[in-house]
């Protein structure tokens, strides 16, 4: 995998001897990261992960093509933000807006669903396959394994968001003109700065998924069935999204992990309106702390019978 590993991959006989010598040598603390690297590459080699990323990459293509067909007769998309995802009306003027539109379209469901699948599968999937007992006997260490799984899920949040953003940027550049863009506040910013804001928005969107990732990981420690954990996490996502629409529940809605998700649009204001963005990040950190602790408490005390 790495240069260090491939460097001495010849001569089985004498390297077996060096393997024994190495076992006697004090292990380096850096070796503990080997599991994280392996976990990342294993996750990305799963057919399911690739399929999820494929679906996410297809969304901007669909949106872009739909907008292109809709406006091919010269008319602009009517109505603006009210009839579709935010920013959709501006796409024809500037392909960069497809990035914002695609993120706004995938954040309510596709992105968190993909994260829920990966997070829900994290522990329960290993238990289901029986590989969990061998990882623990290796010994991976329960806390180390849990932290590795959460770090991998967070890395997947970033990767998934960047897949959407990159796909949208490519489609937007191919189908629509690029150039200076107008913020929500009406000011004009250069294309370069727009690109910077797009990257910042992608990172904020990825950070918005921290909460559901922690929730999914916790659910994953409760069961030995990967499918059940994934379904529960995605079910919770849908439930919260529905409850967030019921006005009578406004007192508790600010505590739903999805409540401030669309605040990323505030990054397109000039000056940026930070309040909801900060609130979103605080809420995600709270979810990570609460459900991360719950997952740890559960997993470190659990009897592994699978």
């Amino acid at each position: 995998m790495s240069r260090a590993e491939t460097a001495d991959s010849s001569g089985a006989a004498e390297s077996a001897a060096s393997g024994r010598a190495a076992a006697a040598r004090a292990p380096s603390p850096l070796w503990t990261l080997g599991l994280l690297r392996n976990e990342l590459s294993t996750t990305l080699r799963r057919w399911r992960t690739i399929a999820l990323l494929g679906v996410l990459a297809a969304v901007p293509v669909l949106v872009g093509v739909a907008v292109k067909i809709e406006t091919s007769d010269g008319s602009s998309t009517a109505g603006g933000g009210g009839e579709g995802p935010a920013f959709i009306a501006q796409i024809t003027n500037n392909g960069l807006f497809l990035v914002f539109t695609a993120l706004a379209a995938t954040l309510p469901f596709f992105l968190p669903m993909a994260v829920g699948v990966v997070a829900g599968d994290a522990i329960a999937g290993e238990a289901n396959a029986g590989t969990l007992r061998y990882l623990l006997v290796a010994p991976a260490g329960r806390t180390r394994l849990l932290v590795t799984k959460y770090a991998t899920t967070l890395a997947f949040c970033v990767i998934a968001t960047l897949v959407v953003a990159t796909s949208a940027l490519i489609v937007g550049a191919l189908l629509f003109p690029l150039g200076e863009l107008t913020t929500i506040s009406g000011t004009r910013i250069s294309f370069g700065e727009g690109l910077g804001r797009a990257l910042l928005i992608a990172l904020i969107v990825a950070a918005s998924l921290i909460g559901i990732a922690a929730l999914g990981l916790f659910v994953s420690t409760l069961t030995n069935s990967g499918i059940a954990a994934m379904a529960t996490t995605v079910g919770l996502l849908i439930t919260v999204q529905i409850l967030d629409q019921i006005p009578q529940l406004h007192a508790i809605q600010p505590y739903f992990f999805s409540h401030y998700w669309l605040s990323f649009a505030d990054l397109m204001r000039d000056p940026v309106y930070w309040d909801d963005l900060i609130r979103n990040l605080e809420l995600q950190a709270l979810y990570a702390a609460v459900f991360g602790a719950a997952a740890w408490a559960r997993f470190t005390a659990k009897d592994i019978t699978a």
């Binding site: 790495s2 991959s9 390297s15 076992a23 799963r46 061998y134 019978t305």
Partner: protein, 332 residues
């Protein structure tokens, strides 16, 4: 650790290290008990002592608590009460320091079907924080070679046969030089040739000084490779000790084969031999304390025509039946 007792492939090294458990026990449990949440008592007050350097057979019908015991020893399950020490340290508290020296195959192999055999081993090795990443690939290659999977190393594990999966599981246990190997039913799913290979691998590892803890429900398997054994039934330890002693516990028998059984029985009784049983042309009895040669001479002097004369050692199966009063296949 390495030089303690290099158990040969015969059972006679058994008497050198006793099961008393003073210092050189690799596994020692005290009143180890596991009651599952449903109230079912899976393991009940287990006192197990596995001497260093032994090939220890852990025997019992399916459902007798073997796997639960192994899971407790590996820190996967918390005991309800009692203690377990592996390599001298308490489990599950010392998993980090103990388990790198332990290779385990628990309840069959578990693999990532979408990864190749080699990548499966790379993953398990990287899970061990004290495994040197610089030697990882060579150690994986050595382990694959040792179980005869080099040719299939690049194939996806889901395409493996059960026997190949079992071998890959064994390879994972052999990624590092180990002090203790815990093998739960290692020959499951293997053909007779594969079983023979595993047995010779176990003997080879044992002669390197590795203690092998081998669970099985196959009596002859235990008898063929193990120096020591413990027998479990319904969550309780029935007996443990050197295989030779366990079998001796079931009393060996003096057996005389003769066309003159009646006469033979009379002479044997004269010689002070007790518990004489005549069945057709076989006369069996408790072996006498004095020299067997004299007994044989007495038979011949009395004109008994002797076809066969000797002491038949009891098998482990005889021992098991004597201990439990029932056949081995009766599940708990």
């Amino acid at each position: 650790m390495a030089e303690l007792s290099t158990a040969g492939d015969s059972g006679d090294s058994g008497d050198t290290s006793d099961t008393g458990g003073t210092g050189d026990t690799v596994i020692a449990t005290r009143a180890l008990t596991k009651r599952y949440r449903g109230g079912q008592l899976a393991v009940d007050g287990l006192d197990l002592a596995v001497p260093a350097g032994s090939v220890f057979g852990f025997l019992g019908p399916n459902g007798s608590g073997k796997t639960t015991t192994i899971r407790m020893l590996m820190g996967l399950i918390e005991p309800t009460s009692g203690t377990a020490r592996v390599l001298g340290r308490p489990m599950p508290r010392a998993t980090r320091t103990v388990l790198p020296h332990v290779g385990a195959l628990i309840e069959g192999p578990a693999l990532y079907g979408f990864l190749s055999g080699r990548d499966n081993l790379l993953r398990y090795d990287s899970a061990d924080p004290v495994a040197d990443p610089r030697t990882r690939r060579t150690r994986v290659a050595t382990a694959l070679d040792r179980v005869g999977l080099t040719a299939a190393a690049g194939k996806k594990a889901k395409a493996y046969s059960l026997g190949m999966k079992q071998r890959l599981g064994l390879a994972a246990a052999l990624l590092q030089p180990r002090k203790l190997l815990v093998l739960d039913e290692p020959t499951n799913g293997l053909d007779p040739q594969g079983m023979r290979e595993i047995r010779s691998l176990v003997r080879e590892l044992a002669s390197d000084g590795t203690t092998v803890f081998l669970s099985s429900h196959l009596l002859d398997e235990i008898e063929q490779v193990c120096t020591h054994a413990a027998v479990m039934a319904q969550g309780r330890l029935i007996t443990q000790g050197p295989v030779a002693e366990l079998a001796a516990g079931a009393r060996s028998r003096l057996v005389v084969t003769t066309p003159d059984p009646g006469e033979a029985a009379r002479v044997l009784k004269e010689q002070g031999v007790s518990d004489v049983v005549v069945t057709e042309d076989r006369v069996t009895a408790d072996p006498p304390d004095h020299d067997l040669a004299e007994v044989n001479a007495a038979l011949v002097t009395a004109g008994v025509r002797v076809r066969g004369f000797g002491v038949e050692r009891a098998s482990l199966e005889d021992a098991f039946v004597a201990l439990t009063g029932e056949g081995f296949d009766v599940a708990g």
